[in-house]
Symmetry: C2
Subunit: 223 residues, 2 copies
């Protein structure tokens, strides 16, 4: 892969947008960004093109680039898709999972539990993502795994919100354990249903939360 200014700028901006440090509709000024990064406009422009290509920004001819943050409805839709994709991963994993992979999954869930006990939110999320990513990998379908990872990354900042719900964390760990058991027992139907609901519930809780917050739906409709 490329490892130059463009790549650095793209990654930095991507993280900033995905971590919510840019509001929806915020303008990405080429000149200003160029100054910030200490480079000319050229690499900045190329980075912005890439962001636009991946859907994180939108470009209007002769008018500039603007951050595109998903609205509540978009997020709900994305969680729905994520749930199905992960469920498919679990289903496929049943057909080819090795004992070592099961052990690895249990270890990752234990790491989640340990981080949760210590109240280390960041480490919890790291371990949680690793757990899910391991399931993607165990699907054996590289394209599916990559798709899942991209979507997971996009949903990352919004997952954190729903951690506040008391009791949800322990339940999440239990659900993980159930998923592992189902995969180990090679029950594709059960494993996929469990994981689907596990992810779905996050999206639904989040959606409910946002809807209660504000009823400003449709402001960032996809398309």
């Amino acid at each position: 892969m490329v490892r130059d200014h463009v790549d650095h700028i793209e990654t930095t901006l991507q993280d900033a947008i995905l971590d919510g440090r840019y509001a929806d509709g915020e303008r990405l000024d080429e000149t200003r960004l160029a100054e910030q990064f200490g480079v000319s406009r050229t690499p900045v422009r190329e980075a912005l093109r890439r962001l636009a290509a991946t859907g994180l920004a939108r470009q209007h001819a002769n008018r500039g680039t603007f951050v595109r943050q998903p609205g509540p409805l978009d997020l709900y839709e994305m969680f729905q898709v994520m749930a199905r994709l992960e469920a498919f991963c679990a289903e496929l994993a049943c057909a080819r999972v090795a004992p070592s992979a099961i052990a690895a999954l249990r270890a990752l869930n234990d790491a989640c539990a340990a981080a949760a006990t210590q109240g280390d939110v960041d480490r919890y999320y790291g371990a949680n993502e690793a757990f899910h990513q391991r399931i993607y990998a165990e699907s054996g379908n590289d394209f599916l795994a990559e798709t899942c990872q991209t979507l997971q990354r996009r949903l990352r900042p919004y997952r954190r919100t729903q951690l506040r719900t008391p009791g949800r964390l322990a339940q999440s760990l239990a659900e993980h354990a159930q998923v592992i058991d189902a995969i180990e027992a090679r029950q594709p139907r059960k494993a996929s249903a469990l994981l689907r609901d596990h992810v779905s519930v996050q999206g639904e809780r989040f959606h409910r939360l946002m809807s209660h917050w504000r009823a400003r739906e449709g402001q960032g409709a996809s398309g």
Copy 2:
């Protein structure tokens, strides 16, 4: 959206790559492309960045941009995912489909049949894509619909291959009709299973075809 040189170049190259006019690993020379399009290297570079961002090309630092065509294994994986995504569309459609949409789907399948009878391959594929896209839209999930459309576009050139199989075309039309019936009857399980198999079978046929052709697997592994 942007409507400038960059956009034009990107679209043109994208179509060329997706239509198979570029071989895997072929180099996309900036200077040469700039001459071809009658512009400077700048817009070409930005277009190439976007292609790289969408996965159609790969960039190596200080070495250039190279076309990334999926290998047989990649395509098999993509068809698998496509099948599940479309199945999910059908499932969701059951919950909200209107009589007018059912009529529209039937009309589109009739258009497929008409084109098939006349032996108009291009028109058949156009109508076929429209049929599938209508189902995406009827899912009511814009993100899902957009994802499906992107993937459909990427798989387009490879779908054509399997049309040659005698009898497959008529069977395909019949399967479409079954899917419509299931959606109309609001049977989500049935509708999704039917559509999943309809798409899966294409991927599997294609995979078998390619495997028989050459056993050069893994040459273009994703990652």
